[in-house]
């Protein structure tokens, strides 16, 4: 099996606020990220697809097609957007790295038809990132 990874970058704004909590509680839990004016990140997304290379083309998947999926599903949806207000899949959620990566996994997984989605890694900064992996039911704890 071969794993192919392609990377893309998008910039987006967000802040963390849970309307069920008091203002003080929000500040305590979310710290600076609670600032309602929002702030932004240059997110880096690495998408890994696993599969066997097609014997004729030598490719696991057509990278041009993957790039189109990225443009349509990720860039148009999230690049230069405010994640709290403009991404319906994140409505009602706190737009943390965990939640954004989960949304991206659910969007991309059914779109990958050559090979299968093996991992996505989303960097909010070099010091903070999340991995989603296709590991069956192990997350049910």
């Amino acid at each position: 099996m071969i794993r192919v990874t392609r990377k893309l970058e998008f910039s987006a704004a967000h802040f963390y606020h849970n309307p069920d909590l008091s203002a003080e509680e929000n500040r305590r839990v979310f710290g600076k990220c609670n600032n309602p004016h929002g702030h932004g990140h240059n997110y880096i997304l690495e998408v890994t697809v696993a599969g066997e290379p097609d014997p004729k083309t030598g490719m696991v998947l057509d990278l041009r097609e993957l790039k189109e999926i990225f443009d349509r599903e990720v860039t148009q949806r999230m690049d230069h957007r405010h994640l709290n207000y403009e991404v319906p899949e994140l409505a009602g959620k706190i737009p943390t790295c965990e939640e954004i990566a989960t949304v991206l996994w659910r969007i991309l997984e059914p779109k990958i038809r050559q090979g299968r989605l093996d991992r996505i890694r989303l960097y909010e900064s070099p010091d903070l990132f999340v991995d989603c992996t296709a590991d069956g039911m192990k997350d049910a704890r």
Binding site: Y16, N18, D20, L21, V29, F30, G31, K93, I94, P95, T96, C97, E98, E99, A101, T102, W105, R106, E109, P126, D127, L128, F129, V130, D131, C132, T133, A134, D135, G136, K138, D139, R141
Partner: protein
């Protein structure tokens, strides 16, 4: 789908790779330059992975403030700018290779109360990295 959150920290520390019961030649043969009696150091880049359910109220596996203060208390307070051979008690018994540093740091973090510590990864230099994974899934 399984989710892991990775957080990156860094600390400079020094070490010397040698075994007191071995001759200078044997230490030299096995550990090479790393056996230098004056010791040497690295800027260790430490990555810690945690896993667990995402709390819908916060969108988080673990609050970074909790994780950061736990790592600070359990690891960075002791390792930052330390001569590991003498200042980290675990290395009285074993050689502070980065393999062993990974294992010792993992063991120090394993009791994190808010989420499951899944593994640690350390870059000793830009060219060497080591990873320690929790023995089995919870």
């Amino acid at each position: 789908m399984r989710l892991s959150l990775w957080r990156r920290y860094s600390f400079p520390a020094s070490h010397r790779l040698f075994r007191a019961e071995w001759s200078a030649e044997q230490n030299d043969r096995i550990f090479g330059k790393c056996a230098n009696p004056y010791s040497h150091g690295h800027n260790y880049e430490l990555e810690v992975a945690v896993t667990g359910p995402v709390d819908p109220a916060t969108g988080m596996i673990a609050n970074l403030a909790d994780l950061d203060s736990f790592v600070q208390r359990k690891v960075l307070d002791a390792f930052d700018h330390a001569y590991m051979n003498e200042q980290i008690p675990e290395f009285r018994e074993c050689v502070p290779t980065t393999e062993n540093v990974c294992r010792v740091i993992f063991q120090r973090l394993a009791g994190f109360p808010r989420a499951h510590i899944e593994g640690v990864r350390i870059e000793e230099t830009g060219k060497n990295s080591f990873e320690y994974a929790a023995p089995s899934n919870p």
